[in-house]
Symmetry: C2
């Protein structure tokens, strides 16, 4: 299996990460965009997510100066106050990597053209590849800007530009040194699900979840947080009245997983969103299990809540409060 191959490589081959990463965060597409409206950011949620990331990453109580010095539409000048950046101002920022999904960006273009199925020689697929990248990089830019406004030194890094390529949809080659160098220089890389070249089928969609799994294998973060639009992983579609939140999932050495909390009587049914070209919750659990196998705790939690702030802070690493809502995926070993 291609995944296992990647994992073994990760444990034996060269990693460009010189110092440990504290946390990899996935901003789920559903949490930061409006599901039912094409190419629309959920501004309120993105703002809260950015604020929580700043609180988790930057220790100062005061909000640091913003780093998005873009012109506001309608104004002729750019608002930037260099005097706010005093040399003795400490802007130490935790080593985080941010990866986001596409939500209502990119999926329309990808599914209209079938980019995930390859065949780049077809004009429609080539057009869809270009259109998908335009859509997801538009979202990436807005997320980088939102983080920068909070004082997080965010830098957009597209997997396609970084030269990441897949083979039958699994990552076959990804030079992580640009990402590692960006972190070593004090920046917060912001990657995203992207249209990429595929050695076998020409092209595909590389999901944010697969990117996180790959980054985690090489950078060994202390913990990984998936921010979603629901409280965690449920035993059935969370819209169903009797859906039960799975609070703890244990991952065995062979990668199989089982629900520890709460105790369940029936087997688990996993939801897959109909319009999600990269696979919904099922992909998420599989990738989370892959990460947990390395001994890295994974928290799947609703974005912009007190629960997500606890997860981002790393407060859950020792013990998980009873009133915490979310799903923990961790190694049973």
């Amino acid at each position: 299996m291609a995944h296992n191959k990647n994992q073994n490589q990760a444990q034996t081959s060269y990693s460009p990460f010189t110092q440990p990463i504290r946390c990899i965060v996935k901003l789920g597409g559903a949490a930061i965009t409006c599901k039912n409206e094409l190419e629309k950011i959920n501004e309120e949620s993105l703002l809260k997510v950015s604020e929580q990331l700043r609180q988790a990453m930057i220790a100062t109580s005061q909000k640091p100066p913003g780093m998005d010095w873009s012109k506001i539409p309608g104004e002729s000048e750019i608002c930037c106050k260099p005097e706010e950046f005093e040399d003795n101002y400490v802007s130490e920022c935790s080593r985080f990597i941010v990866v986001h999904g596409a939500g209502s960006f990119g999926h329309f273009q990808a599914s209209k053209s079938g980019v995930h199925k390859g065949q780049l020689d077809k004009p429609l697929v080539k057009g869809g590849f270009v259109a998908t990248r335009i859509s997801v990089t538009t979202l990436n830019l807005e997320i980088v800007r939102a983080l920068a406004r909070e004082g997080i030194p965010s830098v957009g890094m597209s997997p396609f530009s970084c030269g990441w390529i897949t083979g039958e949809r699994h990552i076959s080659s990804a030079d992580l040194s640009p990402v590692a160098r960006a972190i070593d220089s004090g920046f917060t890389p912001v990657l995203h699900g992207d249209a990429v070249l595929d050695e076998i089928q020409g092209c595909t969609i590389l999901s944010g979840d697969v990117i996180i799994s790959h980054l985690a294998a090489y950078s060994k973060p202390k913990y990984v947080v998936f921010l979603t639009d629901v409280y965690g992983v449920y035993d059935r579609p969370p819209t169903e009245p009797d859906a039960i939140l799975l609070k703890e999932i244990a991952v065995a050495e062979d990668g199989s997983w089982s629900v520890i909390k709460p105790k369940l009587q029936n087997s688990i049914e996993i939801t897959v969103a109909a319009h999600d070209t990269t696979g919904g919750m099922k992909t998420k659990i599989s990738e989370a299990a892959m990460i947990a196998k390395f001994g890295i705790d994974v928290y799947i939690v609703k974005a912009a809540t007190t629960h997500s702030l606890k997860a981002l802070n790393g407060d859950l690493r020792n013990s998980i409060p009873d009133d915490w809502l979310g799903t923990v995926v961790r190694s049973s070993g």
Copy 2:
């Protein structure tokens, strides 16, 4: 000198470009943005430039279907017509690389913070680095979209994301394989002047002109076109009444250059724009001379004119019509 070192490397070391590139085009910042207004694109000029690029790159008389399937503000649906992309529709596109400058994007942020001078440990420089990248990637996205609307399969590739790094402001490491792979897959990479990491001084601004010189050395294009906002290189600031357009510049083997046409009596004064952090016309001629030394013709020409279309088409390679306005820089050897 670092430049000469790069050149020698280019001639001896591995190049990932498997097939020849037809043309590298520089979209000058001044030609595609409004000089006197911060972060404002010159939409009319960008449209004409994109149309001319399409005419030069795609042989069909009919305009191919657009590849920017973004939602237009105010509309709820995305306009995309998959039926326009018939499988028998031939979208063969010449192997071009596009590199653009920053114009009224990025320069403000870079000069306010001194990103070009390095010292990334200073909070202001770090903030300026983030702000500069936001500004130049905003422009990059709009250029990629303008080209895609013409049916050019454009893909944005940021030098920083691609892992390009400098040493004392000269390119010290740049993995060109993602760019080469994008071209081999039928795409048109769109790079840009960017804030990048520097091995010696921490960070700097990598100009579009230096990027072109580096790409030309490795990819050996048939010709290089610099699209600017004036008719070419003049003997003095082109705003002065007696400024003379230098029509032909010959480059000797040692990299020195001299004006062949017209015959001049006085020595040449080169203009350097006051607010250009990457050096104005002087950098342009030096970089053009560096490219011409490889036997590659360089055309410096006013964007969106009949003259620029001739240059982009490659019509000038055999002979240059007397009524053509622009500057040719080529090897005297």
